[in-house]
């Protein structure tokens, strides 16, 4: 793979799930975990050339602490070729519980193509307001910006398109913007808590298991 005296690096996309105990690995910690996994697996990855050399890893949209992810994505660069199945097997042998690689291949889309993400939200809630909640027109989320300001975001357009699971009233499947102007589904949970408070007159903490099912491009196709 040598050309003009320099290595041509082969870009590889690794898609994996992050479930169970692994949902409590933060994004920063996930990067460290993956760095070490790549080292344990002896995958011939390219190291950055700086003072602090480390394997080059590039993650698609970070996943919030506490969320599960079914189809997360991480790019590496190879300095020597290695078959995709090999990379998958080697990584799966050395990854901690809850992290499983399910696809390795050359990237098709660019990271900046990510525009949405599809989430499954399982509400642990006996209040049964979910079906009304998603039909409401004026659900507003308050998002704190980096400058500490609060910005109001209209959630209703996304909620109105959400689906409630056929056999379970508390399961919501919805698509939210991701990548550029990201809306974190935790904002939906907060908005729902406020909604329940309005309906019942008391604040009830609502737990919600959140799983990111897929990253999507602007056409709604899965990120590959």
């Amino acid at each position: 793979m040598e050309k003009r005296g320099v290595f041509v690096l082969k870009e590889i996309r690794i898609r994996f799930s992050k479930t169970g105990r692994a949902k409590f690995i933060s994004h920063l910690d996930l990067m460290r975990t993956m760095t070490r996994a790549v080292r344990r697996a002896s995958i011939p990855v390219w190291y950055t050339e700086g003072f602090n050399r480390h394997p080059y890893l590039k993650f698609a949209a970070p996943l919030s602490l506490g969320f599960e992810g079914k189809d997360e994505s991480m790019d590496i660069r190879l300095i020597n070729d290695m078959p995709a199945e090999d990379i998958e097997d080697r990584l799966n042998q050395v990854l901690p519980d809850g992290l499983i690689v399910h696809h390795v291949g050359e990237p098709v889309m660019k990271l900046r193509d990510i525009a949405f993400a599809r989430y499954l939200m399982r509400f642990k809630d006996n209040n049964n307001h979910l079906s009304e909640f998603i039909k409401e027109q004026n659900i507003i989320a308050k998002k704190r910006t980096k400058k500490g300001l609060v910005r109001e975001i209209e959630l209703s357009p996304f909620l109105n398109k959400a689906e409630i699971h056929d056999c379970n009233d508390n399961e919501l499947c919805l698509i939210l913007p991701c990548g550029g102007e990201t809306i974190n589904p935790a904002l939906v949970v907060t908005a729902y808590e406020e909604y329940v408070e309005q309906c019942q007159g008391e604040h009830i903490k609502v737990f919600c298991d959140i799983t990111r099912l897929a990253l999507l491009n602007s056409d709604g196709n899965s990120f590959v």
Partner: protein
């Protein structure tokens, strides 16, 4: 409504402290397990997970098919509050089972200020904190680590203390426990028998009587318990168990790297240093074994850095042959080697060159005292010239930052000795600017860290009064007043924590009530400065009629019975007295390789004592 653990984890900072499931953590099928062991570190996950002793014993215990060892750490305040509100007892990270049903609950004590954290952990586990209130239905609560060389202040809370190195004795203890379990375990019967294992101290089998002045009249064993309890040591470090893998944490911990132990003990005999006496004699691991172990650790963890662990890296006699072996594969794998505890006088140009190949880690020296007179007195055999020459070499090699560690409050110290901390630091700054080969265009930074001396058991200074807080604070003020340049940055430790350490380090059993008392008044995290509150301790001491200065600031006579006199760490009292007298006469003692000074550790006929 009570929340479950999964829900709690979403409400706390750094939930990965409590989830377990890290790579290389061991989860066993509980069906086939005879002994469940909770290895407790009385501090946060990030601190405990950095501790090598815990990694060794965790792996060793889990290597036994019959034993399941789990890790337990002190939860942070947010988690503790939620656990108490929701009736979740302290659990093992591996199984998430509450530890009050385990067979053993074992603590390691690396510092005295973690005592109350251990009581809090017992309480969070739903266990009675006093050993006398736990019967055969409770786990055995045991402890080890350097602090248990004087475990008397916490004697009321523990069933067993394990003295010295744990690899062999812990298995002997478990074997005995298993045999008792087979015929029907009875705690009292077990403890009586366990007391006969070398290194096992059962505090309830000893009775302490006091004189009217508060000193000890006698320490008497009950029944058949041995009169003195001798620490355990490992004879051969090449064959002793060492883990092939470490648990790799998700979150960033204090020392997040692989560690290879290169030797135990220290040849130096610096008179203030407890580790230099209680781990004698020096025993080295061979370079081949270290190389193989380092390599397998890096392979199994994926760590990008490993360090060589010992009390004084440059005293390892085969460093020059070890480093090339390590470098050969470490460079190829982009793995950094770090060499902590590198002593000033062992720092050769060659070594500097070899280190230079690797990432430039900080250059750290520990002169401990500013003046030559005081360095002689504490037996830190090191001259101004050694320090300056070494620093100069480091500057030539490209270093621009030097870290210096000093102590104040050492026995015989005067304000002039204290002032020399600053003058020595200034000399280092001057040497930098005189060095024509220094890194161009960069200033020098000499970081000076000044801690307060705490006299410790089993050192020649065990009889010495500790400086009062007022004296320590005066010396700190003096240091600050002498500082005239920004090239030197000065850091000092809070004198009040050193004072409490001084009380606990040489305390007796009467402090048990005090420790329980402060715990009940909310002291649980004394080792964390933001939670430390000396006044609560002083009030409790007062309540039980005890005088803090009796423990910290009093000179003991050589013939006083010390609270730890029934414990035997190898070094004899005769030797420590001789060393104390040398200190007062500013006379140094040669290190173990130059000449044997007859400390008593030669009785084991191991390591450096053989040559």
């Amino acid at each position: 409504m009570a929340y479950n653990l999964d829900e709690l984890l979403r409400m706390v900072q750094k939930p990965a402290r409590y989830t377990g499931g890290e790579l290389n953590s061991v989860v066993k099928n509980k069906e086939n397990i005879g002994v469940r062991f909770a290895f407790c570190f009385p501090d946060l996950y990030e601190v405990g997970m950095s501790h090598l002793g815990m990694k060794i014993l965790y792996s060793l215990l889990n290597k036994q098919p019959n034993v399941f060892c789990e890790r337990v750490f002190m939860p942070d305040t947010d988690m503790e509050e939620l656990m108490r509100q929701n009736s979740i007892r302290l659990f093992g990270l591996e199984s998430r089972d509450a530890i009050d049903t385990f067979d053993f609950v074992g603590f390691t004590f690396q510092y005295e200020l973690s005592y109350t954290a251990a009581l809090n952990m017992l309480d969070l586990a739903g266990l009675p904190i006093r050993a006398a209130n736990r019967d055969s239905s409770h786990p055995l609560v045991i402890a080890g680590g350097p602090c248990v060389c004087n475990p008397e202040p916490i004697a009321d809370f523990f069933d067993i203390f394990v003295l010295g190195e744990g690899e062999e004795v812990i298995l002997e203890l478990i074997r005995l426990y298993n045999s008792h379990k087979e015929k029907g375990y009875d705690k009292t019967a077990f403890l009586h028998q366990a007391a006969h294992i070398e290194g096992v101290y059962v505090p309830s089998l000893y009775h302490v009587e006091y004189n009217n002045d508060g000193t000890i009249a006698n320490i008497k064993p009950r029944g058949e318990a041995p009169a003195t309890i001798r620490k355990r040591i490992i004879g051969d470090l090449d064959t002793v168990y060492y883990p092939e893998s470490f648990v790799v944490p998700f979150i960033d911990i204090v020392h997040d790297r692989a560690m290879s132990e290169i030797f135990r003990g220290c040849i130096r005999g610096c008179r203030f240093c407890q580790a230099g006496f209680i781990y004698r004699p020096v025993r080295e691991k061979s370079p081949e074994v270290i190389n193989a172990q380092s390599r397998s650790l890096c392979k199994s963890t994926g760590y990008e850095e490993f360090s060589l662990s010992s009390l004084s890296t440059s005293d390892y006699t085969k460093l020059e042959s070890l480093l090339p072996m390590l470098l050969e594969w470490a460079q190829e794998q982009n793995t950094n080697i770090s060499l902590p505890s590198l002593r000033i006088d062992g720092f050769s140009e060659e070594l500097a060159a070899k280190l230079n190949v690797l990432r430039r880690s900080g250059l750290t020296f520990a002169p401990e005292a500013g003046s030559q007179r005081l360095r002689d007195s504490i037996n830190k055999n090191l001259t101004d010239n050694d320090i300056l020459e070494t620093a100069n070499k480091a500057f030539t090699a490209g270093w621009t930052a030097v870290k210096l560690y000093f102590m104040i409050g050492l026995p015989t110290e005067t304000f002039d000795d204290v002032a020399e901390i600053i003058s020595l630091s200034q000399k280092i700054v001057d040497r930098y600017y005189k060095n024509p080969n220094r890194q161009k265009g960069k200033g020098v930074n000499v970081s000076v860290s000044v801690s307060s001396f705490v006299p410790k058991p089993f050192t020649p200074f065990q009889w010495e009064p500790q400086d009062t807080m007022e004296m320590l604070e005066q010396k700190q003020t003096h240091l600050r007043s002498l500082l005239t340049t920004k090239k030197i940055s000065l850091h000092w430790h809070d004198a009040s924590t050193s004072f409490l350490e001084g009380i606990l380090a040489r305390g007796d059993r009467r402090l048990g009530d005090v420790i329980e008392g402060v715990f009940k008044r909310g002291c649980k995290r004394d080792a964390w400065s933001e939670h430390f509150n000396l006044q609560v301790w002083l009030d409790a001491l007062d309540e039980f009629g005890l005088d803090p200065s009796f423990y910290a600031n009093r000179r003991r006579s050589f013939d006083e019975i010390l609270p730890w006199d029934h414990l035997d760490y190898g070094v004899t009292k005769k030797f420590l007295i001789k060393e104390n007298e040398c200190a007062h006469n500013n006379v140094t003692t040669p290190n173990c390789r130059q000449a044997c000074s007859g400390c008593g550790a030669a009785r084991w006929k191991k390591g450096v004592c053989l040559s």
